[in-house]
């Protein structure tokens, strides 16, 4: 029997319209735009110049900084420009524009990497340019590198895909199960992981069946159906629901001897080790109320959204909002000319009606946000604190109420009958408290220094 406390969660409409649709490789776009910051960490640095001819898989930007990831050409053609590019809500940076020569030639120098121990394995993953494809975009090698400090006993493979609409991970499981098997084998061999849990929401019966089939004889792999609730795929939620463990404040997941890896990241990793082709294309779900023919499309990274939408039959009504990823946590695009990036798993185009948000009204203290928060936080307390002028008082409340634990899943905003922008406020509160605590720590350090 299991008497564990249940984590609060939401039942959101699934809209998994494309779950049964085999992914289709699109005809290549005329050009791609590849931002240098498609991952968390330091931006990559271009190693090509305008006018250079590049082929698919060729390194065009090397990683830079402690945590970073390289970028590779995703089509063959000419480097047309190295221009400034600011992702929506991100820091300004550079992007490389490649004009297609229409040939889609692969770089002939690409060979499978030589992998024989942990070091060579991690180096290979680093060169693959693979980042967390569930949306977090944390460089995969950096995540696996944790094994050098903490032994990894359990690998939690995230196939939950709890956001509405998105089915690209589902397609990975159904279509590329061989790579998932190989990926599990690689982690077992080089990370010495003992146990694998593949967590999949129950609304993906095909994926569960396929995973059970390919891992039938393997007692170390547990294919675990999970309730279809949002946010089942969030780190803390998945960890708790699959293992009963909780990452404490300030603790790293690896300290629990666990890592969580997105299922498509795992498959891509195995594919790279096998054929040496870096992360240059992705399966992306194109859906939403303004899309004529929702589809799963395999597209080169950097493809403009506009081209992607055309490949999905075009628009059936005037677009109101374009979302990278799911509608719960996805960021909006400013224009259809923006490119899809490495971690893009879906493009949702909402029509004008769906894109409208209701005007907020006063908080009626109903407590739905508190009751729904998967982490048992109190969004109304954050909102009240943010109204305070006194920064010290504001910080005291935010620290006490643990705003820094918020993962911005959006459940609070989703349920709020007063339509208050709670998740947005949480995000503002988190960046405020990060700056405030950093400044406070520096001040304390200075004081200590002065006393010496």
């Amino acid at each position: 029997m299991n008497f564990r406390k249940k984590i609060s969660a939401l039942k959101v409409p699934h809209h998994k319209n494309t779950a049964g649709m085999h992914s289709v490789r699109i005809s290549p776009p005329k050009e791609v735009l590849l931002p240098m910051s498609m991952h968390s960490g330091g931006p990559a640095v271009p190693v090509v110049e305008v006018g250079d001819h590049v082929r698919i898989g060729q390194l065009i930007a090397r990683e830079d900084g402690k945590i970073s990831s390289p970028v590779h050409a995703t089509i063959s053609g000419t480097v047309k420009a190295i221009e400034s590019f600011t992702p929506n809500g991100g820091r300004p940076g550079l992007a490389i524009r490649i004009e297609s020569d229409g040939k889609m030639e692969k770089d002939p120098n690409i060979v499978p990497p030589q992998v024989h121990d942990l070091d060579s394995f991690l180096a290979a993953v680093q060169e693959s340019g693979i980042v967390g494809l569930g949306g977090a975009a944390f460089p995969l090698w950096a995540k696996l590198d944790a094994v050098r400090r903490n032994p990894i006993k359990t690998v939690l493979v995230n196939g939950a895909e709890c956001e509405p609409y998105i089915t690209s991970d589902n397609r990975t499981m159904v279509e590329n199960s061989d790579y998932i098997v190989k990926g599990v084998g690689l982690l077992r061999e080089y990370l010495k992981a003992e146990e694998f849990i593949i967590g999949i929401e129950e609304n993906k019966p095909d994926a569960i069946e396929e995973m059970r089939r390919v891992f039938a004889g393997d007692s170390t792999v547990n294919v675990m159906p999970l309730k279809s609730i949002y946010p089942q795929g969030a780190k803390q939620v998945l960890l708790y629901n699959a293992t009963g463990k909780v990452v404490a404040e300030g603790q790293r997941l690896a300290e629990l001897n666990v890592i969580i890896i997105n299922i498509t990241s795992l498959a891509k990793m195995a594919q790279y080790i096998e054929d040496g082709m870096p992360l240059v294309e992705k399966c992306i779900t194109v859906d939403g109320s303004a899309i004529k023919e929702p589809k799963n499309l395999i597209v080169p990274v950097g493809t403009p959204i506009r081209y992607l939408v055309e490949q999905a039959g075009g628009l059936k009504s005037e677009p109101g909002k374009v979302i990278y990823g799911g509608p719960m946590m996805g960021k909006t695009a400013r224009s259809m000319d923006e490119p899809v990036i490495k971690a893009t798993n879906a493009i949702i185009v909402m029509d004008q009606k769906d894109a409208q948000k209701a005007e907020p009204s006063p908080c009626i203290h109903c407590g739905r946000c508190v009751a729904t928060c998967p982490l048992s936080l109190n969004p109304t307390a954050f909102a009240k604190a943010m109204e305070l002028e006194d920064e010290d008082k504001r910080a005291a409340i935010l620290n006490k109420e643990k705003v820094q634990l918020c993962m911005e899943c959006g459940c609070c905003s989703y349920v709020c009958p007063a339509h208050r922008p709670l998740a947005e406020n949480n995000s503002a509160a988190r960046s405020f408290i990060r700056k405030y605590n950093k400044a406070a720590a520096e001040k304390a350090a200075e004081k200590k220094e002065g006393e010496k």
Partner: protein
């Protein structure tokens, strides 16, 4: 080029709204309103209508005069008027109904900053105000459909040690003296179930509130039937289901709400059992409303993964 909306996530919403919640409360109160008309006659309708119309008008004019955004559309004034009306007896003169409604909306809610900012339930506070200001509010009026000898409510009779009590069945269907909306327990329970099904409220506050009164009375008196009379009589069901559960004036966590309801039950019991005064629900809710900030201090949820000393 198309103009795209950029905004923070999430980009979808459950569809819940303040207005819909208020509408649900109104729907849940309809059985009680209908029962009041059946049991107490036309006069009950007049009282309810007067309270609703004056509450809505008061809110409208208050917003107009103080140049605030018009909030009549959120229907909260309708709920306040309806609740206040259900808490009055047919003896109350119409002009007193008007004053009570205006007091609830303007003094208790509006002056504190409108919906969501008031610290006490408007209908409860207005009722207590009327109890003190006008003596006619307290006590019960005669039901129109039954002929009873005494005009005292069962709780008054219990307090005075009278012998001629209505049967428990009468107590359940509401054919006895009292405020027009409080007597028909059946109608209130139907409303309760509706609110539970619509997920407007959860069961904790009403069940703990009523349960506490029942258990305390049972222990104190040792009389099961007497305890039943205590929970069926007076405004307990109306207060526990519809007024103690007011979001604005009860704690935000389930833990807090249980503590709050326990306090309401205890105070109701103490007032009823130890004081000469037969009613206690309004006072207990009002007192507990004032204690909410203190209850909330020690009933917060423990964040998952949060360490205590960080």
């Amino acid at each position: 080029m198309e103009k795209l909306i950029t905004s923070a996530s999430p980009h979808i919403h459950s569809g819940a709204s303040t207005r819909r919640i208020m509408l649900d409360v109104i729907i849940a109160l309809l059985p009680a309103a209908i029962a009041s008309a059946v049991i107490f006659g036309m006069r009950a309708n007049v009282i309810l209508l007067t309270c609703i119309v004056s509450a809505v008008l008061a809110e409208f004019l208050f917003n107009l005069i103080t140049r605030r955004q018009q909030t009549v559309g959120d229907l909260s004034a309708v709920v306040t008027g309806l609740l206040l009306g259900l808490n009055l007896s047919t003896n109350v003169p119409i002009w007193q109904c008007v004053i009570g409604s205006v007091f609830a909306v303007v003094v208790v809610k509006g002056l504190f900053g409108g919906l969501g900012r008031n610290f006490a339930n408007p209908a409860i506070t207005a009722r207590v105000f009327m109890l003190i200001a006008f003596s006619s509010v307290a006590g019960g009026a005669m039901p129109a459909v039954v002929e009873l000898e005494a005009s005292a409510t069962p709780l008054e009779q219990l307090a005075n040690g009278a012998s001629q009590l209505p049967s428990l069945l009468d107590m359940f269907i509401g054919t006895y003296g009292g405020a027009i909306g409080e007597t028909c327990t059946l109608a209130l329970l139907i409303g309760f179930i509706y609110l539970l099904v619509r997920k407007v409220i959860r069961w904790h506050i009403p069940v703990v509130f009523i349960g506490t009164v029942f258990v305390c009375t049972l222990i104190a008196s040792g009389d099961f039937v007497y305890a039943l009379y205590q929970i069926l009589g007076g405004g307990l069901f109306l207060g526990a289901i519809f007024m103690a559960t007011d979001y604005v004036t009860c704690p935000i966590t389930t833990k807090g709400r249980v503590v709050f309801a326990l306090g309401c039950g205890l105070i109701t019991f103490i007032i009823r059992y130890f004081c000469a005064y037969p009613e206690g629900v309004s006072f207990s809710i009002l007192i507990m409303n004032l204690l909410v900030p203190y209850i909330e201090r020690f009933t917060g949820n423990k964040p998952l993964g949060g360490s205590k000393n960080a």
